[in-house]
């Protein structure tokens, strides 16, 4: 069937809560009503990044974007644009920067954007494998199987300098190499899609917008290290992503891109999905393995590392969703191309999720090395409501805290750790100066208290003591010794906890104690909240 026009509707978690399903249904109904259903095809697509308001509709080949729209706009679009051929000007998306209004290609919504991971998101129907294949999908897998030895694949990934995008920034090629060299016939590839870090939703949108890119990368990793089975561990909070993945895996199987003798070779590879059940700790790689093994998600001792003894005691590669999505382009375009993006110590792009008190929310893929200032004030459009920036929490609660004087530090794994901060998962939670620091830190610490798995004492009891102390301070019952106590407890948890969760838990507390000590002191010594937003305010009101 040949269609004169394709209409893509954004179907992501973000757009669904704003009525995308109803918009699609209405589009189809209106198109049918006017008898255009043999000419115009409605498809679903993934997210298009930060600058496009949700939900959006893209019309090809006209390259026109309507965003954001509601169900009540649909009738007009269909009648005016599709039937009479007159685009509805007032609904066309106006980009924030210069450029032809609403034109789609080659224009990108943001000049700073560079799409590697999100190359297909928003441009293909993620539930149709042929659209992925049409954009060179599975070509990297074919090239690897037909033209490269496993060692050559690993060498290329190593040369690219790709660092794990889950937060720790471990070199991916090295991880693969260690697993390949580990003894044993049985090996596994695990995709960590247990994206639990508050403020992070990049993996969700990658999986919803382009699930095949992750499946293809897992098969490439399997070929490189000698594994025949892969598991995607995905959080239970993401029913939409789970659905897309299941469909994609089945399609790949039908096309012979998963299963036995892939593309006529002797290489076999299967991918299975395991759903998480609401435990943040399972994003820690060894806790994740425990969970796949059907146990409580409690971290293991390291060493041995998963590359030696991982899933069911066998050598295992565990890669984040975003890391994997980088693999097919690296194979197709080469390590040198990848190295030309970003900065030498940290090549490639990073997908950031911008949230909190900024004007534009969403995800954006940019080269590594961009500054926080560019992200918050150019991409994010500045602070909401004309307030001032107080802090940006990078990489979620377990990441780092950046104050306005650090806005010009380039964003990469190594540069941020120099400032005692962390890139982490790429979450950027922007907090303005109307928020009380005690209240914000309490929120972070309550998170760790809730998500501590209970295995080791410093994390289990220490986070509880910190939250109790912060509670007291915010209720005006703080003691002069509290600040010293918080520092002491924070350092202890950091130095003596068993796993990364516990070791990172006091980070936001300790950093904010350094940056905002005066504000803490005002609560303790003057009995008031300078910002007037924490529970102390409620108390003062009652007293008056």
């Amino acid at each position: 069937m040949f269609y004169r026009s394709h209409v893509l509707v954004e179907m992501t978690s973000n757009s669904l809560v704003r009525g995308a399903a109803q918009i699609k249904e209405r589009l189809e109904r209106e198109i049918k009503r006017l008898g255009l259903d043999q000419e115009i095809k409605v498809l679903e697509t993934g997210s298009f990044g930060a600058a496009l308001p949700s939900p959006f509709v893209v019309v090809y080949p006209d390259n026109i974007i309507y965003a954001p729209i509601t169900v009540s706009d649909v009738k007009r679009i269909v009648e005016e644009h599709f039937w009479k051929g007159r685009p509805v000007k007032d609904l066309i998306f106006s980009p924030p920067e210069k450029g032809e209004m609403g034109t789609f290609l080659p224009y990108f919504p943001l000049s700073k954007e560079k799409r590697v991971v999100l190359r297909n998101s928003g441009q293909i129907d993620p539930l149709n494998i042929e659209e992925y294949i049409a954009r060179d999908g599975y070509l990297a897998l074919a090239r690897v199987i037909n033209e490269m030895t496993p060692d050559e694949v690993i060498a290329e990934v190593k040369k690219s300098g790709l660092l794990g995008r889950g937060g720790a920034g471990f070199p991916t090629g090295l991880k693969w190499e260690l697993t390949r060299k580990a003894e044993g016939e049985e090996k596994y590839i695990v995709c960590n899609a247990d994206e639990g870090e508050p403020g992070t939703f990049k993996d969700r949108l990658i999986l919803e917008g382009d699930p095949h890119s992750v499946i293809e990368a897992m098969a490439i990793a399997g070929y490189a290290v000698g594994a025949q089975e892969g598991y995607i561990y995905i959080r239970g909070e993401y029913p939409q992503s789970i659905g897309h993945l299941k469909t994609a895996i089945n399609q790949a199987r039908e096309y012979g891109l998963l299963g036995k003798n892939i593309l006529g070779s002797s290489f076999n590879f299967e991918v299975k999905i395991r759903e998480g059940a609401g435990a943040y700790i399972c994003g820690e790689e060894t806790a994740l393995l425990e969970s796949i093994e059907g146990k409580r998600g409690i971290p293991r001792n390291k060493p041995p590392y998963p590359t030696q003894e991982g899933l069911w005691g066998k050598p295992t590669v565990i890669n984040n969703v975003e890391t994997l999505a980088n693999i097919p382009p690296i194979i197709l375009k080469g390590a040198d191309w990848f190295r030309s993006i970003g900065i030498p110590t940290c090549p490639g792009t990073k997908v950031f999720t911008l949230t909190g008190n900024v004007n534009n929310w969403g995800l954006i893929e940019v080269p590594m090395g961009i500054t926080l200032r560019e992200l918050v004030f150019e991409v994010g459009g500045g602070i909401r409501g004309g307030h001032n920036l107080k802090l940006v929490q990078t990489g979620g609660p377990s990441g780092g805290t950046m104050t306005p004087d650090l806005l010009d530090v380039p964003m990469a794994f190594d540069t941020l750790s120099r400032y005692n901060s962390a890139l982490g998962s790429g979450a950027l939670t922007v907090i303005d100066d109307t928020h009380c620091i005690v209240d914000v830190v309490k929120n972070f610490m309550e998170f760790f208290l809730h998500e501590s798995c209970g295995k080791c004492t410093p994390c289990r009891i220490g986070t509880k003591r910190i939250v109790e102390t912060l509670d007291r301070i915010s209720e005006g019952r703080g003691k002069p010794s509290d600040l010293e106590y918080l520092r002491y407890m924070g350092e202890h948890i950091k130095n003596t906890s068993f796993c990364g969760l516990g070791q990172a838990a006091p980070n936001p507390l300790l950093r904010c104690l350094d940056f905002f000590e005066e504000e803490f002191r005002a609560h303790l010594e003057e009995g008031k909240c300078p910002v007037n937003t924490c529970s102390m305010k409620a108390k003062t009101k009652i007293l008056i």
Binding site: S13, N14, L16, V17, R18, S54, E195, G196, E197, P198, G199, T200, F201, R204, R235, G236, E237, Y238, P239, R274, E275, G276, A277, G278, A279, Y280, S291, I292, E293, G294, K295, R296, G297, W312, T353, T355, G356, N357, W361, G362, L363, Q393, G396, P397, A427, T429, I431, D432, H435, V440, N443, F444, E446, F447, H450, E451, C453
Partner: protein, 154 residues
């Protein structure tokens, strides 16, 4: 007590995972999907069938926040308490829900319709503040919008 027919259904679920190496969590998830919680008798039965100590099965059932060992309401409302939602008013969302449903966090309404819980992050920070009712996520919550949404479930 659980009826015989239920055991048969549990057998069917477990049969599906016969080929899997360590299916305990997946089995518990599927049982819960069907009956909304995991009664003690069911956990005992799963433990026997899989030959896994009952303590281990209970350990798993109580570890994960999505698994329930007590009956929950027909609709489980989970309010996102992540920092992006927090700085956009998730405490007000929680308060509104407590008022509208007449229950506190962790409680189930008397008619057995609603259970109110909080969760660490739903991963929809782009529409903060957010909540999830069973499998459906709702964002951009305000007092009015919460009332509109709840009306759909009442």
């Amino acid at each position: 007590m659980i009826e015989l027919a239920v055991y048969k259904e549990i057998d069917e679920i477990m049969e599906k995972y016969r080929e899997e190496k360590t299916p305990l969590l997946s089995i518990l998830q599927e049982i819960q999907e069907k009956w909304r919680y995991l009664p003690g008798d069911v956990l005992g039965y799963v433990s026997q069938k899989l030959d896994i100590p009952s303590s281990v099965v209970w350990g798993v059932a109580t570890f994960y926040s999505f698994l329930e060992t007590e009956p929950v309401g027909e609709y489980v409302v989970r309010v996102c308490r992540s920092a992006p939602c927090h700085v956009n008013g998730s405490l007000d969302v929680l308060k509104t829900l407590q008022k509208e449903l007449g229950i506190k966090e962790g409680e189930t309404s008397r008619d057995g319709r609603f259970t109110l819980e909080t969760t660490s992050c739903l991963g929809v920070c782009g529409v903060a503040p957010a909540m999830m009712i069973n499998d459906v996520t709702y964002g951009n919550l305000s007092e009015d919008r919460i009332r509109e949404i709840l009306a759909l479930y009442r």
